[in-house]
Each structure stands twice: as structure tokens, then as C-alpha cells.
Amino acid sequence: MIQFSTDRRPSFLKEVIEHTPRGERLVHCIQCGSCGGSCPNGADMQYSPRALFALIQADQRDTVLSANTMWCCVSCYYCTTRCPQQIPITEIMYTLKRLAIREGSARNTDAPALAQTFTRYLDAYGRSFEFGLASRFYLFNKPLAMLKMGPLGLSLFTRGRMSLRPTRIKNIQQLQAIIQKAKQLGDEP
């Protein structure tokens, strides 16, 4: 039986919109390129945000989720405030990061490993732990770079700017219950 749908938007477009607060603005992109032109890392992107939005509208899910665009994003929000169509571009980059990480299509980037290491400390202690984060992240992802980080760590340590022990919040059980519940509830905002 043929099914008719009243919503003729491509399914990937709908998915991105559903996962992003104010994401519905995405359909108003006029392809002006203010986003890529404003981006400090725009020149490194395979597809500028403008091109990526065209690919989303064309339902090119795999191409979009394996692009390097969102991994170049530093969350500086220049594109967001300059977009003449009020598209929450930085938020959309976060959505694409989440979808790419979930599906394992993030390539050539250590960003997912950094995010996972960072949040694991947050889940366990309620606070970030810079020494643990840096040492774990480098050890498992770029052990050679540890040589270079040694002197930096030492100069921070001697100035009292690096603690070797994590701090745990008092009511960690409360935070963990909240995190567990949030994860259960799923990810569409």
C-alpha cells in the first residue's frame, strides 16, 4: 500500500530539527555563507556550515555525519549571532556531533575521546579533574604528545595550578541519580 505523508521534508532534516532547540530555523537558510566566512576554522572545513545545511536538506545523511565540519567548531558563536536567518548554527553543530558519535561516524578527530574522558570524571566526582583528564586522554589517544605536556604540567604544578587528586561533591548520589534519569529519558530535547 502506498503511504502518503503530509510532511514532505527529508527525514534527516526532520531528525536534526527534532534534536535541536530552535532547530526549525534551519529550513530558512538562504545560502549566504556568513557562517563559513565568520568561522575562525572555516578554511579547514570540508563543507562550510552553509554547504552542510544544503546537504542536510538534500538528505545526505552519511556525507554530513562523516564530514569534519562540526569537529572544527570551537563554539565561538560568531556564525550564530551573524546569521541573518537566526539559525542556531552552533547548536546544530552540537547535534551533528552527537549523532556522529552515536553512530561511530566521527573520523580523524580526538574530540569524542576528550568528551568521553571529561564526562566520565564529571559522572564519577561531580567536578572536572584536569590532571586526570589530561593524563588519561593523552595516554590513550596520543601517548607521544605526553612528552611535550610534561613541562607544561610541571610549570602549572609548581605554581599551585594543578591538583593531583580529584574533588568529589558531597551529594554525588543525587547528581548520579539525575544523570541516570536523564540518560533514560532519551536525547530529543
Binding site: K97, A111, L122, S163, L175, A177, I178, A182, D187
Partner: protein
């Protein structure tokens, strides 16, 4: 004047100088900062890349813990400031999201209504709530001749700036001039320091840091003033790596704006955490303000 205070993880250790100088300066100005009891990390930019609802719930716990008698919270770190502000705004304008966040918070016996707490940055509080006269009245050691590059970074200025311009902010420039110092024109004042890119993409981060340092040198700045711990860490701690990466020789001290406010108010450099920076600010402070450092 009473505000809730959310220091954020960096201010506990790697940017202790920021916390020390904030508390010292606020004390002198009669601003009462009441630290949120048992606050947790805001997740920086990292949780948003993994799980949206968890990212929001973790942040919202802090808003829910703000003392019910207070309706403003001061967050000195740009990432914390933006996270708290973003979740507060999104909860206020998106009832479905607010409901889900509250369902998660309820697992810990908490609740938050979007819009209840106004999230502020200390530059805004000093500039708007206190204002020029209150600041000038406290200056006992005018910082005459000290040229500073006021660096705002990204996330206080964008996307939710409700106290300054998103392209070329001026509030920190004005605050600095009330201290007697000279804010130099700093074209990259609201550009990005690279954030977490120092960890994952050195080439991109170092180029952004290089531009910021070069721009300050081109403006004849004695030092750069930061209003975010990540900016300070990237510009200060990575400066020597940036130098070797590009074959350059920057020696630009990077301080927090509150350290300079404290100096102008006559506080001792040690009490303001001056000396914790990796590229020492002492030589330039000694040169410009012979009286400042003993």
C-alpha cells in the same frame, strides 16, 4: 549587594588566581558572593557533544541549588556562564525541554523554573550594578601608563550578550579606563582562543592563539586581560609551545581583569594571585608601576 556565586572547576585550582582576586575585589566593593552549596561541574562544551538532555540536567542542578532568596548568580568562567544562561533560557522558552529536565532533576529531589535566576558575568556586575563612580572611588593606586589589551573571548559575548556588543564589546575597556589604565584598541578582543582545541587539534588552536598574541603586540599592549579561565590558560600556559611551533618569541603576560582591579584598589599582588601566571607579569608591572611591586 548579594549574588549567588558559581566559581566553576577551573577557579578551584588552575585559575585560583581568578577566584582569589574576585573574592578580594568583591569584598572591598561590598559585594556579597554566596557560593552555591555543593555545586557541580557544568560539563563545559563536552557534555553537549554526547547527550543533550544530560548536559542540560547537569547544568540545571546548579540553578536549582541557588538559594531561593537570591535571584542572580555570578559565573566568572565564560563556559559556565554560557551553560547556565543557555539552560535557563531554553527552559524558559521550551516547555517540553523544561519538563524533561525537571523529570531528571526530580530523580534528585530538585526542580527549576526557567527564568527564576538571572545569570551574570562579573564584568557586567561591576560595570552596570556598581558603575563608574563606585569603582573610581575605590582606586587608590591609579594604573597610569599601563597599556592593556582587554580580551573578552567568545562565550560571555555570544550568543546571549545582554550587556554589551557581540562584535566589538567595550564594557571591560571602560572598566579598565576607570582604573587609570589605558585600554588599547584590540581588534581580536572577541575572537576565540581555541578552547579545547589545544587538546585535540594543536595546529588550529596554536594559530588562533598566535593571532591573539600578535594583535596585542601590534597594539603595544603591556599585557592581555582575560575574563575567562580557559582563555587565560590557552594564552599563558601554551605560549611557549606556540613560540616553538611558529619560531616566535612572544613574552606577553596574561592576567585576569580582577587582578588589575585589585591592584588599582591597593591590594597586594600576592593576595590577588599575581605570580601564578606562567609568563610573569612582574617585569612589566614593575616597569610601569614602580610602586606596585614592593
Amino acid at each position: 549587594m548579594r549574588y549567588a556565586y558559581y566559581p566553576g572547576c577551573s577557579l578551584e585550582c588552575s585559575s585560583a588566581a581568578y577566584d582569589m582576586s574576585i573574592r578580594a575585589v568583591c569584598d572591598l566593593l561590598g559585594i556579597q558572593l554566596e557560593e552555591i552549596d555543593d555545586w557541580n561541574c557544568c560539563g563545559a562544551t563536552e557534555y553537549h557533544s554526547l547527550h543533550k538532555l544530560t548536559a542540560c540536567a547537569v547544568i540545571a542542578r546548579n540553578l536549582a541549588l541557588v538559594d531561593s532568596r537570591l535571584n542572580q548568580v555570578v559565573a566568572p568562567c565564560a563556559a559556565c556562564y554560557l551553560n547556565l544562561k543557555k539552560v535557563d533560557r531554553q527552559m524558559a522558552e521550551n516547555p517540553r525541554l523544561a519538563e524533561k529536565i525537571n523529570e531528571a532533576l526530580a530523580a534528585g529531589g530538585l526542580h527549576y523554573d526557567g527564568g527564576r535566576v538571572r545569570v551574570r558575568h562579573l564584568v557586567d556586575v561591576l560595570h552596570t550594578d556598581l558603575g563608574e563612580k563606585a569603582i573610581r572611588d575605590k582606586v587608590v593606586r591609579p594604573l597610569k601608563g599601563l597599556k592593556v589589551a582587554p580580551y573578552y573571548g567568545c562565550q560571555v559575548v555570544r550568543p546571549y550578550n545582554d550587556f554589551d556588543n557581540t562584535e566589538y564589546p567595550m564594557k571591560l575597556d571602560e572598566l579598565v579606563s576607570w582604573l587609570g589604565a589605558e585600554p588599547v584598541p584590540y581588534p581580536l578582543k572577541a575572537a576565540c582562543c581555541g578552547g579545547h582545541m589545544t587538546q585535540i587539534s594543536e595546529a588550529q588552536a596554536f594559530e588562533l592563539i598566535r593571532r591573539l598574541l600578535q594583535s596585542a603586540v601590534d597594539s603595544y599592549a603591556d599585557l592581555i586581560l582575560c575574563m575567562c579561565p580557559m582563555c587565560q590558560l590557552n594564552l599563558d600556559a601554551y605560549q611557549s609551545q606556540v613560540n616553538s611551533y611558529f619560531g616566535l618569541s612572544f613574552r606577553m603576560p596574561i592576567l585576569f581583569f580582577t587582578q588589575i582591579v585589585g591592584l588599582a584598589f591597593g591590594l597586594e599582588p600576592n593576595a590577588l594571585g599575581i605570580g601564578k601566571e606562567i609568563v610573569s607579569a612582574q617585569p612589566v608591572l614593575q616597569r610601569r608601576l614602580a610602586a606596585v611591586t614592593q
